[in-house]
Symmetry: D3
Subunit: 314 residues, 6 copies
């Protein structure tokens, strides 16, 4: 179960209202790389991880809970940046008021313009955060990835943290408020910290490559198809050795001819029968092992999620 | 900030795996009336409520946190209902296994059919919950309502709780598992409890009708337009007195003729000048009062969200 | 069947073009609380209501049809606010023209800016309304609620009308045009009128609480979980009597300890066996009664929706 | 304004309940080519068409209103196909009942399966139509096209009617119920009738090609780029004369070489300076004419949408 | 398989950066009528067309590939219009820089405003194109139509090309850059060229009317329902002969009375039994013929998509 | 520009029709981890990468083009799995036919059931692929990530390839067709190959950690907040050294107390002034360097994307 503590994890402050930056900051409240996306991704992954990885479950729940706490920090900051908006909108019978409030001395023209630039604060939420990105797109769970395999999920998380970090970096350029910058810097840094947690967790699972269970088919593993005609570049991604498996890249200079000559890559398997067999064997072994690991961790009989006071477990 | 306690709020248990009911139950995990929708709606509303209603803020955060805790219960139940799926999918090299697992003795035919009926457990999440409804539609923040006015937000919440309660009621008919039914009954009942909390909170704000600040225009308040030709029914919604304001309903039997005769409802204001003036005056007074209430609650200078150890305030 | 009368229900007028307010007004054309959302919600609910509530069906269809008529008023107003845009965009070979039109004397700079602020009028609809909200989000039927139970649907409608009313209130602050304000005031007032119609209809169904059929589980009905640590507030939502059922609130000061001590709320049922039995009995009676009500209203044999000239019915 | 007549335009009947076909039929209720999509497309287009094409406005409103009436027919048919579902779901306390109802003698297994196949009738709408397609995707206004130019909009409509006709044709194969087939046949035929109405309306506007105002650039009008290597086919779309303009197709056998040789199609304009000038002149003339047509039709001063009893117009 | 050539099909150039027009131009990158929508529509249709229409498959793939090439042109143009943005955002530690770059001499105020007007370039993509429309709505495959019947698909394509052409026409008014205008003119013209290709292809299939296979029901084909009361217009769409079938329009002046008198259009079939029979016969013949055409083109046994070097086929 | 070669990159074959597996396979056609998502992600990233990383641009375009080619393979396979469906649906006048076709001897019951399980093949596409996932959700560009920074984009790509690989692994368990398995194995393996290409490319950029430009704030980098109360686990993600930066993890056992004691993490900076300064300095240097790198690569004057025959470049 969750519990809420009224104090924010970080002492978020705001020097003065700034509805425009509030709009941009929505990107981290309800945007695709924002705090809700992170929180829900780790929270959702945690369920499948609990068996047989209770330690990873613990980590995912710790970080998910921290991301919820960050969502709260972002929401609180947006709310403070919008100071004045709600009060003025409540003065619904007097139009002259709203003009003077949003940014002090502005003429009505400006006020209406502000409303146009981000209509939701003016006509929908009346000066509170909403779960949309900076352009008003509603948050959507398609932003999250949860695929039931930790060697994949943790890689998704490393990428998610990278993007979240970058968006905070971009955002920091659009505000001068030292308090807001301080908060953004804290939040940005935590994404880096989480990055390393996920990296460490991934390294603690062995084997973790390739992600999932099945091995690569040796016939197609190391080919690089030069499908973009014109000035072609060579680099460690298509010459020399592959970075993880260490095989040599096979650069297909003219893929169209190659495909035609091999009848759609059919005639390539000469001489690798042995390697194919080894792969198949490895696939079977790993499948059994991974399957046993998961299945073995699931107790028989009535399933119970929690162990209250140690009574639940035998 | 949020905090997580590993024990579930309710001791959710499951007698035996049932991937099909797991699919239906997704409706309350990532569906439009589900636990995430409730949690995020109250959580988002809470920011704007904090000033000048710290007591309502407290209530919204309490209930939002409980809904997060219910989301966890639903997720845990789905996970337990899916026992076996993940382990079998890990046995990726052996197709014969998956057939026997999902529902025991089923032939491959059945297994594939199961996968078709809810592909996401088979080909996306590998046996864990995902934030979609029972048909795979991703959860979307459009499901939540947060409009910066408590007399409106609380009404939205009463409706949300009503729908959530009903969906649990429907779901209970599709499972026989006594443990699952017990959990559903708990969750359903809590929606009713929240319903009353919101009702009580709404009644504690005065005036709360009409929702928002502005009064109804007396010219158009009590008209009922009989726009649906055929057998017409009369009832308390179009005859006698209005339930809240107590005015008498004005039943427009033939709206088309009425609209034409009044030049688009323009010639109706005779004899109500006094009432119009009174409305205008009330609008101004309420606007000022409500605006002052909100604005007065917002401190000057640097804004700070939390008060740590009482040092932050004063 | 539907029928269209060319005259608008209300004589909508516009003093002069104002593309910017047209953008904001889209919120009530294709937005989540707009007229299409209302029309489609009541229209969709009406089908399931027809049996056994032909009177509520009549009311839902009357109001749905009025909301369609309001959608037309909003669309017509947007169209009039956009006067000039379409004509200028037709002058596709002469760029110099468009600059002078949108708001009279504006320089090209301004014109392009307008287009940026709301691209859809400039590059998609050429000066006509589109079914999006004020930020361009397409209208989506997720905005509507229809759950096959009138005690729930009517509560959804009361909430919907509250939100729609509020959005009109907000919008009124962003225009000075007296004609437009007059139209908005009419539309806002009608939401209040509909609110009372739904309230009256709900009161005419008994019992209507809890929404749906099943009663609350007495073990979990009156608990308030204080899940938000810090300054805690007490109010009618967590102390004294519950507003609808009149039971006393049970305030759980420390939910974490309580949950652990009760093994996940399991050990709470002492002394309420009688109440549990009574609930179960009530559930069965109400289920039978409600089910019979619906089923009894459905005629046997070939189903026919309409009764033409009284010949269809016996 | 709209008006509703309780009788359906077509006497829709249903022999016996069939929840499965109800699911498929949702495609025409809330699907991308369904009746709501058609109704909203023509309704939305009508606003911009009113000036200077009041006759096309009349036609668009006539057809939009008929499509609303068809939406009602589809909804009524779905409701009749679902007979029994709602009544049984109301019997929430007795699970044994629901099993026997959905398709008569079916075992519980079947009932649950039905629910899985289309969860929304079971757990969301309780046996009423919802505005989704047959797979539960919510209806979205992105399905509609309205671009402020009748020569384009009418072409969009011809395509929409073609698709709607086809979907009815597909649907007819999935039901045996003669009453339902009769209704589908009626609805399918009306799409054909509308097709011809739009065709006729398009032909009555001259010039209507190319759609919009600007002419094609003569340098790029008649080129066919053979970009798909392999067995290439020639037909009236790349050899002989173009069907509308009558120019000769210019088949570019080897587009890559051609692009390189012409520096990105830059060196192609030799000898067509005259044609380019003529195009430019035509563009200017048509722009002026079309712009004048629209602008001229918009009255000065306060805009008023409707003319009540002839008093509104001078 | 696809192949990429680094040179653009058209030599796209840009005089100077213009982030605002870049925003508008997104409409053709990730918008509903943009190049991706066209490319994916034809690409998807091509699969079902391959049998029995390999010539239409060839055409669809040629045009789809050209649209991909246009998508690249639009993306490249946006990227060039955004010159400077990415570089400045990289200077993340120095806020003063970003102000001077986006439009030269602008103050910080302007920079922030730009970011607000289109947040995605500032806080998400850092100055690159994203697959959204000009308002940030993500591209969605609902924009494409593919219905497995060429007489329908080609009509969808004609409409799609019409809309795409029009949007380019609108866009051309919002830029002064002669290079950009030249590119837009090229792209606009190609939509016209494709229009004629699809028109020619449609004409080469016989019969192609009505779209699909089934004929219209003669009882409902030629009726025009005058459902929009008020000033009614007559034109070739409701008087005289139908444009395609040549039947005479039957104008139903008062549809409500007509529907009631005919018991929901039931009593209309007198005297057309012969026509009904003929329709039924034609339906059967065409069904058989069309079905045989498709089925006959599908080879027996193992299916293979490609024929490599002529070896794959017989 | 793009070019299409009619031969598939891989010789995709299918033993016999299997509409059910076709449904599942849609996951890789129009699903969130499918081939279109991959193709569009790399294609979109390529634009911003071109300057100053033409070698990475080349790689991104090569892989994007290969993913388009895989999209074609998946589409072709789905089409072959659906053999028969389109032909039968064309036989629209004879219902008895469709029953026998979809899976040979099946009764009508089965046919309708098939249609229900995946309605789109039956009532929308008539047996062709559509750009949706296996549950009918339309493909959406929110699935793609493109953030204008290669050190982030490449990490996104590594995660994307991991997920795509896993989904192929899952899918392989739901078909017995050896030809289909062979194709899936090829496609799965290519995801692994791309994984290594992106890994190698990332390693060739230095520095690449943290992703983006700004360094972590040393005050918050190494803290692990134990926010999930209950059995807590220690591992390399919260004890010992951090995997990338090598600092020591700082495990905050009781975060609530810690936050309160530090006034929201404010009082933690003692003794790290030097480190803070160093970070600031590094931020400035890296910002300048990265900014110069991008800006320096952008030529002055008119921008031109392509260099035709070497004439474009000086």
């Amino acid at each position: 179960m969750f519990h809420h503590v009224k104090e924010l994890q970080f002492n978020a402050r705001v020097s003065k209202p700034d509805p425009r930056f509030a709009t941009l900051l929505l990107e981290q409240f309800g945007g695709e790389n924002g705090e809700l996306a992170a929180a829900m991704q780790y929270f959702t992954q945690a369920f499948a991880a609990k068996q047989p990885y209770p330690d990873k479950y613990d980590m995912l729940m710790d970080i998910a809970t921290e991301e919820f706490s960050h969502l709260e920090i972002v929401g609180a900051t947006i709310q403070m940046l919008l100071k004045g908006v709600n009060g003025e909108l409540k003065d619904a019978a007097d139009q002259s008021e709203i003009m003077e409030v949003l940014n002090g001395k502005a003429a009505k023209e400006n006020v209406i313009h502000q409303a146009l630039v981000n209509p939701q604060f003016g006509v929908l939420s009346a000066g509170g955060p909403r779960l949309t990105n900076s352009q008003g797109i509603p948050w959507c769970s398609s932003y999250t990835h949860s695929n039931g395999d930790l060697t994949v999920d943790l890689r998704s998380n490393i990428a998610s943290e990278s993007r979240a970090k970058l968006v905070y970096e971009y955002l920091m350029q659009f505000t001068d408020d030292p308090y807001v910058k301080e908060t953004l810097s804290f939040l940005m840094t935590r994404e880096i910290a989480h990055y390393e947690m996920f990296e460490a967790a991934l390294e603690s699972i062995k084997p973790n490559y390739p992600p999932g269970v099945l091995q690569a088919d040796p016939r197609f593993t190391n080919q690089y198809f030069n499908l973009s005609q014109g000035e072609s570049f060579r680099g460690p991604w298509n010459e020399g050795d592959m970075p993880v498996t260490g095989k040599s890249w096979d650069y297909i200079e003219d893929p169209i001819t190659h495909v035609k000559n091999t009848e759609g890559l059919q005639d390539q398997e000469k001489g690798i029968e042995k390697e194919l067999k080894a792969t198949e064997k490895l696939n079977k072994e790993l499948s059994k092992a991974k399957s046993a690991e998961v299945t073995g961790a699931q107790p028989k009989g009535v399933a119970q999620w929690s162990d209250y006071n140690g009574k639940g477990k035998k």
